[in-house]
Structures are given as C-alpha cells and as structure tokens.
C-alpha cells in the first residue's frame, strides 16, 4: 500500500510530503518530496546588497535566526577580510548559544508531543519564552531578530538585561532536570525511541549528515571545535556524542548540548569585554544611530551604505557555523559588485533529511514520526 504522509501532517514539522510504500505496517520505501516552501532565497539574494540579505537568513531555519545571521555575516566578513571587535564576538556567541537552547526547546517540545506526551511542551515553551523576551529587549524582534550586522552587532545590550540573562542561566540547569524526570527513564519514551531510526557512523558521514544527528551516531564533529569562529576557542565546552545512533541517542545529545550551551552563554556573559560593538570601517559598517541624526557626514555614510552597499573584492569564500541542526554554511561568490554573484546556502536539514530513508526503511510506520522528529528538520531551510 502507498500512503502520503503530509504535506499537511503535524508530525512532518512543516510542509514535507513523504510517500511511504508499506507492507502491512512496515515501511518498504520512503520518498520525501520537497519544495512546498521554496521561496527562491538564493536567487533573491543575488539582486540584493550584502546588508539587505541579512533578514533573508533569519527566515531559513526560523527557530535559529541568530545562528543563521552569524553564518552569513561570517562569510561576508571573511570575503571582506575585516576584524570584528571582541565585544561583538562575545555578544554573538552569547546570542547564538541562547538561540540554540531555544531551538532545542522547540525540538524537544514538538518531538515529544508527536509521540503522545503533551506535558513537556508547556515546560519547554515556558523557558523558550524567557529567551525570546531577552531577544526582544536586545534586538527588538523575537522570532526573526536580525540582530547581527556585517562587522558586529546592531546595538549594545540594553540596561539591566545582564541580570535577566543571568537569572535565566542560573535557573536553566534545573529545568533540564525537569525534562529529564519527565522523559529519560519513562518506559513509554524509551520504547518509542531506543533502537529506532538507527543510522551508523559510516552511513551518516557518507550521507553528509551533520549536527546532533551525526553526533548521536558517535562522530565527534562540531564546527565550533573543528574550525572555531567568533572566539569559540576561548570557551570551555565539550561535544557530547552518542553511541548507537538511534532516536534516544539524539535526544540525549541534544539535552547535553543545551547544558553546554548554557555554560557557554554563562562564560560569555561573565567575561564580556568592554569596547565597540561594531567594526568602524566607513565603507562597510553603518554609523551609530545617534550620529546619523546629528552629523551630516554620518548621514551620508548611512545613506550610501543602505542604498548602495559596499564592493568586496573578487573571490569566493565558504564559512560555516554549528547551527542548532548541524553545519550551516554560506558559499558566496563575489564578482566585485555590490551584490553577491552567487549566494549558496548549505543547510543542515537538507542533508539530514536526505538520509531519512536510511533510518526508517524496514521499521514501523509509527517510527517514521519518531525519526522525523529526532532529526529535527525545519522546512524553511530545506526548501530555502
């Protein structure tokens, strides 16, 4: 029998359609069909200036907007060859790690909800709300903050926000324990996740899988450690890995990752250096907003950069970050003009989803729901 799972199915986390060929309740073949959310972002960015492309990146993996911003601005900064002030780097790390926690909280809540546990989502969204409130105060936006700028960040921390972040960071380890009491030793949870959706180390590498899905299979690859960016080499953290590569291992890896993210955010807040938040390069970065209203030179600079942008050298760069789903990379080809010649986004969910059939063929149809939840796909970045 052939059935269509999706495109409108709550457990496919968006508009994904998987055609399942079944033999009784066993999946014989699974074929994902994509493109329902294809917005032509790569094409669109080619007609925009480098600054104008930043908001597009928020809308890739909309649960991890800060991380997406970071990957893109790192690529452009590499292309330009400019240095980012230390304070901006630390702010970026802090925001990216808080965002990773928020993204993992969505994953945990929805994944568990798919498998029939209604309670945890209320817990995880409670904590996620705290993070979004912090983002709102810092950047002005909750889901798509567009906080990062080429050369730094858009504004400094508002007054009193440090205490709120500190409060969250101190409370969060206990919240993780709460989730664990609900799930980790829960018999139903274990039965639904252990030995389900297994992918071996070799297969995971060959299929280009990255992020917690790869680490669940026991491969110690994390872009933050392999190619440290934005001062990650100055933070103490470990990479949690699994051994079997099943749904349960990915669950444990993500839980541990949240704790480490919390630790990194704490270190960033404690050691936050003083100084400028954006590189001062009049050809590239925007002037401080207060100057724009008072100084004609700053106004001209603002106008030039917003309307015309800047002209990076000819060349091509690839820069990637460890986003919440895996390695998010931007490959930018510049022809020397003020907009990207080629704007390629290597998104983690795309590669992770391509390995889906490897994980579910031969297992029961109920395990498909469990496996799709565990690789944590976001269709916004698959279809782009």
């Amino acid at each position: 029998m052939t059935i269509n799972m999706g495109p409108q199915h709550p457990a496919t986390h968006g508009v994904l359609r998987v055609v399942l060929q079944l033999d009784g309740e066993v999946v014989v073949k699974a074929t994902p069909h994509l493109g329902h959310l294809h917005r032509g972002m790569e094409k669109l960015a080619e007609s925009k200036t480098y600054h104008q492309a930043i908001p597009l990146t928020d809308r890739l993996d909309y649960t991890n907007a800060m991380g997406n911003n970071l990957a893109y601005v790192l690529a452009v900064e590499k292309l330009l060859g400019i240095e980012v002030p230390k304070r901006a780097q630390y702010l970026r790390v802090m925001m990216a790690e808080l965002q990773r926690i928020a993204a993992h909280l969505i994953w945990l809540g929805t994944h568990v909800l798919d498998l029939g546990a209604t309670t945890p989502i209320f817990y995880t969204f409670r904590e996620r709300e705290d993070i979004l409130r912090i983002f709102e105060e810092v950047a002005g936006g909750r889901l798509t903050p567009t906080y990062l700028r080429i050369g730094g960040v858009s504004k400094d921390l508002p007054e009193g926000i440090e205490d709120k972040v500190k409060e969250f960071i101190q409370a969060f380890p206990d919240h993780v324990k709460e989730y664990e009491t609900l799930l980790t030793k829960n018999v139903i949870w274990i039965k639904r996740t252990k030995e389900v959706g297994i992918i071996s180390k070799e297969d995971a590498i060959n299929w280009g899988v990255t992020g917690p899905t790869l680490r669940g299979s026991g491969v110690k690859y994390d872009v933050r450690k392999a190619f440290p960016y934005s001062s990650y080499e100055e933070f103490d953290f470990e990479i949690p890995i699994g051994s079997v590569g099943d749904v349960y291992d990915r669950y444990v890896v993500r839980l541990r990752e949240m704790e480490w993210s919390n630790a990194i955010a704490e270190q960033a807040l404690e050691r936050l250096p003083k100084g400028p938040i954006i590189a001062d390069d009049p050809r590239i970065t925007l002037p401080p907003k207060d100057d724009v209203t008072q100084d004609i030179a700053a106004l001209i600079r603002q106008f030039k950069i917003v309307s015309e942008g800047f002209y990076p050298p000819k060349g091509e760069v690839y820069a990637s970050v460890e986003a919440s789903k895996g390695e998010l990379g931007f490959y930018i080809v510049s022809d020397g003009s003020n907009h990207p010649f080629r704007f390629r986004i290597r998104t983690p969910s795309f590669a992770n989803l391509s390995a889906l059939h490897k994980m579910i063929e031969g297992s029961l149809i109920a395990d498909v729901v469990s496996t799709i939840g565990s690789i944590d796909i976001v269709l916004g970045e698959i279809d782009r």
Binding site: L34, K43, E46, G208, E316, G329, R344, S354, R384
Partner: protein, 162 residues
C-alpha cells in the same frame, strides 16, 4: 600554502594533465580540474589513506552566463582525519553533462538533483535525477542568470494538472 597542501601535491602527481588551476583566497584552497577526470579525482580524494575526504559538505552550481563554458560545479570536501576542507571546481558548458559522484558520496544524490533542477546541469549515472524544489513539468531553470528574478510566468499563475 599551495606547496604544503598534501591534496594538491598528490593530485598534481597523479593527474598532472587535469589540474588546471590551484588558488588560495582567504586561506581556502580551490582546485580547478578538468571535467573528464573529475570522477576519478573524487574517487582518489575519497579513498587515498592520507587524505580521506569522506565528507561531501556541499555541491552546487554557479552560472557565469554569458561566459563560455557557462557553468561551474563546485564541490566542498571535508576530511575528518586531517580536519581540512578542500574546494574542487570543474567547468561545464551549456547542455554538457557531468559524471555523478553519487556512488562515492551518497550526499551528492540530492545536491545533484538540486543543481539539475535549478541550473539544468544533467548528471550522468545519477540513479534518480528528478526535479527537487520545483514541481514536475516546470519549465526553465530558476538560478540561471538569464532567468528573471520574479520568474517568466509571475503574472500567469500555473496550476499543474493532478
């Protein structure tokens, strides 16, 4: 850096005629190779015990219209063993095909489908070369430079037959 890179040295020894250009920009190594040896080079980079480029991070097309040859196919490789990235490029003309590397890296399966879908670059020996983002029956290749940003049919909504 070019001289010290093991992959460049080995490739130049093994495929002296195919390596046409080696470039370093912002500490990233880019090797341009000829299309006919591409598959063998990929296989060598994958299987050589000192290199072990087991990870195909990305594969994409770039359109240089109106230059000829028109396209470039870009491979981003990563070696877990050496913690090293490598960019491999090959030039492809209009209506020319490239050998699929799907049999080396399974990850190439969808990436090649995407390059085929959005640029119209066909990949030989690909097991399942279908459109991936656009729907079946769609005409045109959106990421080509001569394709308008809003699409040629933006004011003529098209509903595919079911």
């Amino acid at each position: 850096m070019v001289e010290t890179n093991l992959a460049v040295k080995k490739l130049k020894e093994k495929f002296p005629a195919s390596v046409s250009e080696v470039k370093t920009f912002r500490e990233e190594m880019t090797i341009t190779v000829s299309k006919k040896d591409l598959f063998e080079i990929c296989k060598f980079l994958y299987s050589d015990p000192d290199l072990q480029y087991h990870f195909l991070t990305d594969l994409c097309g770039v359109d240089f219209f109106p230059e000829a040859p028109r396209f470039e196919v870009v491979y981003h490789l990563y070696s877990l063993k050496n913690n090293q990235r490598l960019r491999l490029k090959t030039k492809v003309g209009d209506a020319e095909s490239v050998l699929s590397v799907e049999s080396i890296w399974k990850a190439a399966n969808w990436y090649e489908r995407e390059a085929f879908d959005l640029f119209g670059i066909p990949f030989e020996n690909h097991p399942d070369l279908r459109r991936i983002m656009m729907w079946d029956g769609y005409e045109g290749y959106p990421l080509r430079k001569d394709f308008p940003v809003e699409g040629p049919d933006f004011d003529k909504p098209f509903v595919p037959e079911v």
